[in-house]
Symmetry: D4
Subunit: 164 residues, 8 copies
Amino acid sequence: MVNTPLVGIIMGSKSDFPVMKDAVDILKDFGIEVEVDIVSAHRTPEKMMNYGREAHKRGLKVIIAGAGGAAHLPGMIASITPLPVIGVPVKSSNSIDGWDSILSILQMPNGVPVATVALNAAKNAGILAAQIIASSDQALQQKMIDYKESLKEKVAEMSRSIRG
Amino acid sequence: MVNTPLVGIIMGSKSDFPVMKDAVDILKDFGIEVEVDIVSAHRTPEKMMNYGREAHKRGLKVIIAGAGGAAHLPGMIASITPLPVIGVPVKSSNSIDGWDSILSILQMPNGVPVATVALNAAKNAGILAAQIIASSDQALQQKMIDYKESLKEKVAEMSRSIRG
Amino acid sequence: MVNTPLVGIIMGSKSDFPVMKDAVDILKDFGIEVEVDIVSAHRTPEKMMNYGREAHKRGLKVIIAGAGGAAHLPGMIASITPLPVIGVPVKSSNSIDGWDSILSILQMPNGVPVATVALNAAKNAGILAAQIIASSDQALQQKMIDYKESLKEKVAEMSRSIRG
Amino acid sequence: MVNTPLVGIIMGSKSDFPVMKDAVDILKDFGIEVEVDIVSAHRTPEKMMNYGREAHKRGLKVIIAGAGGAAHLPGMIASITPLPVIGVPVKSSNSIDGWDSILSILQMPNGVPVATVALNAAKNAGILAAQIIASSDQALQQKMIDYKESLKEKVAEMSRSIRG
Amino acid sequence: MVNTPLVGIIMGSKSDFPVMKDAVDILKDFGIEVEVDIVSAHRTPEKMMNYGREAHKRGLKVIIAGAGGAAHLPGMIASITPLPVIGVPVKSSNSIDGWDSILSILQMPNGVPVATVALNAAKNAGILAAQIIASSDQALQQKMIDYKESLKEKVAEMSRSIRG
Amino acid sequence: MVNTPLVGIIMGSKSDFPVMKDAVDILKDFGIEVEVDIVSAHRTPEKMMNYGREAHKRGLKVIIAGAGGAAHLPGMIASITPLPVIGVPVKSSNSIDGWDSILSILQMPNGVPVATVALNAAKNAGILAAQIIASSDQALQQKMIDYKESLKEKVAEMSRSIRG
Amino acid sequence: MVNTPLVGIIMGSKSDFPVMKDAVDILKDFGIEVEVDIVSAHRTPEKMMNYGREAHKRGLKVIIAGAGGAAHLPGMIASITPLPVIGVPVKSSNSIDGWDSILSILQMPNGVPVATVALNAAKNAGILAAQIIASSDQALQQKMIDYKESLKEKVAEMSRSIRG
Amino acid sequence: MVNTPLVGIIMGSKSDFPVMKDAVDILKDFGIEVEVDIVSAHRTPEKMMNYGREAHKRGLKVIIAGAGGAAHLPGMIASITPLPVIGVPVKSSNSIDGWDSILSILQMPNGVPVATVALNAAKNAGILAAQIIASSDQALQQKMIDYKESLKEKVAEMSRSIRG
């Protein structure tokens, strides 16, 4: 039996996928079903509108949207859906060192927030989506606590290796 | 008899109007009929979609769109309409010195250009719209040539006043 | 009967409160109970550690943290709690036009996301917190849908007033 | 029979040609005749003056000008011609990540607009030129509508390939 | 008997004069004759061309040019005249904190230098012009040495006043 | 007999070590004992708290902390320890050209300074630590004077090689 | 009996004093004797050289240097003295939002560190100087620990006032 | 017979020479004698002071100084000599994309100008030095006029090659 996806991961172009794949992977690690699609604000505005209007009806709980340059996808999706939208600024080839990607996702007007993460930080977008779902799912919240513990162990290993 | 408007001037919020009014005024000076409306990418996405789909059918030849912060209106309209879209980055109160406004309008991906003018330069947006219409209207092009001559005269006056 | 707060709103200094109050107000509008406190990463690190460790045990579902300059509070809280943390970059008096506030909240390393909103955008932080809670609360999600509709009506009013 | 060129494409140096060629190509795709030349504001100011003065007399309807660093060519041409001028900021080898190219093209004073496109976005400059000509040419406008449809199909293909 | 001016001070608009007047004043303090005019690259390109072509023939030894925003005057004058050109980036009302003014004056291509001074630093432009003339005028060079001594005395006064 | 370390060098990740090793090397050159560890503000907050609380008790006189991106380690350590803390902004792979690293270390609020050095300048952090210790250690101060003399000799060598 | 000053506080101009006075005040609070002077790198280079050469011989243990714009004083003093030099970037009237002040103090080459604090953060410069002296003075270090405790109490007060 | 050098070219490190060599070459092309040396503001402050004090006495007419990062050499030399000083911001390995180099050379305080050229633009520094000397040397000025003509011919060649 396949579970309904809880997180929709969309991006403006296939060229964003190598970055956005980190969100897919970490969410799978947390056992959260995802769906992935290409939805372009500028090339497929109607598809974007439909995606935004239907997302919560299809059972999605969070949307992760990645885009670069004048990155309008996260903010436009956020203008349509009642779901929390996480924006991943992608340092695409046409971006000015990522500044355009960040500012056009982050600086949303009052009324329409986008939960922005660091440049190219699709992994963190996935973790944030998991935290959002975990806020009403105790078993998942425990996984999150365990995950944070595992980070400590990695530092401990690095510490041992550097101190000889 | 009222002429059909040739230039549509839209902006994301009424608070952009003091800036955008300069476009209205200069286009009136050139004798070009305009229409003005508030169309918000983030608060009225459907209205925006309709506006973009209908603009060229209603006889508009150019659209001027002003917005600030994560300014998605010019780029989104440009994604829908076949008309040339002029973007005015507005230094709104929630903007970071205008950088977000500029980058989120200027840095459009391939396939969907926005003709971006300087920060708050709605007057130049109006002149550019007039130049676009004038490129197939010789009488208007002559007005543009005369306008440029008038700029010279203003400098000559300043020159006289400063040289005593 | 008082409900348990679902959103914890913290900030590094009382001087951040005029900005952060917008989060309190909008969450009250959505009928969501909040708690507010001053927690300084740099002046009260132990209090911050305790806050982060206890938050989810006390029933909080989201933490909103505001800070300016070298703004470490949102990221440090996020390093301790399993809850989603929303960061509000505050353009405080010691900030360089807000760039330091934004970058030191946004650019978190892999493993520890902060859901960053626009500069001074505490209202959007509140809406985002409501969206997060609403993702598992259908009645609240309907309120969010209604809220988005109300934004449209405001634009319609502006549109009427500008078109005469 | 050769048609008169409708779009003049100029650039400050032959080293800008690899970027600017995208404008030539897309305009040819739209069936629009172009002419190409090297015109340097700083090394051939008289040639630039002549170019600007004669362009509209030779039948050109739009000028596309590309330059990098302290990029004066687009703005100077715009100061001379009544035609709409599209500026392409080129990220040339002497540019500071493109910021100088962008700002010295975009930030024109009142009276003399340059329609600025994204960094290195000569393709978009070509599309914008086509949109300008299409605003008084219904057959070309239909081509533009078809072009936008073709962008959707490309996204649909990417969508299929990513969803397996 | 009036001496021939040695330094030409030009600016794009009368609104630049309050800044540029500092250059006039300091050059008069050094006993160097100046001439002042409004010459706009964008509004009076022919006047600018003529100014550049004639300057060295009329006996000028240095040109100081001030402009703001997309500031093309200093670089364009430098492209025409064999004289050294000093550029003053003016933080005009349409400038983005002065960055556009600085970059569009400073970042000139190989072959056409502009001697750029700090933002709004017309006084330093005047001193630099005096230093240039003084490099072949021993009496003036001595004045420059004396001027530098006078700076020391001002610091000594400040030092006394602060140390009580 | 091993001396007690006087300088603690910590960093957020093993990937910072190639940069931070310069601090270790130069301090050894000055004959100052150091200890090195991985301490992550975001992954091991408790370890960081302990480190900060114990550092001065274990005999350390200075702490050098390096981190990149949203770099909280230097500031957080400074909030806990009474010792002077030197921060090294590391241009890590997730950093935006180093701006985030610099601003999130430098812009500390009143009460909690971090002595920030240049981007990636771990060597200078080491020299600064030596200068701090030398301010109460005359023999070491003499070494510092000798070190500065040796810099002059290197320049003299370069001067000879370039002048032939 | 007057104690020998341990901290020299210098600045490029009397106009920097309103900012730099915070360093004087906090050091007096810690009971540390200071001396204050105007020393300009650009107007009194010889005085600066002498100051740097003599500082450690006169018993100073730390130098705090404040300057704005192209701020060379902290780095130049650091090139001469073996003492630790703390640089305060001042947002002076001729500074571009403080960026020039910060970068010209912070980005020192290898061999010559300046301990840079936040923009205008003279108070933190004073605290850092006290921490440096305290690293070999246990009584002063205890004062520093007490000072940090007092910061906590201020936050507790703010917390009480905001929570009603 | 060897002529006295008229232009002194100095730089902070041998690593700046590949950039600065362009100034040497172009000045030789103009037949102007130069001298070259390594003079470091931070490592050899006394040598720098002497260089600045003696330059005009040895017959130099212009000084060209190149440096990167916190680039103090041009401004410090300018504070000592009565000669015009041309500053070349070098994008050295420790520079933040050149911004630090530019701002710490350009933003000099009133009284002490540096004639700043574009990032890495040592060739333009050489041309500017030639223009300065030419302002009192008619034969050299004619060479400058001829040089500018040669730039036109190069553009004409590029124009021919691109137009086929």
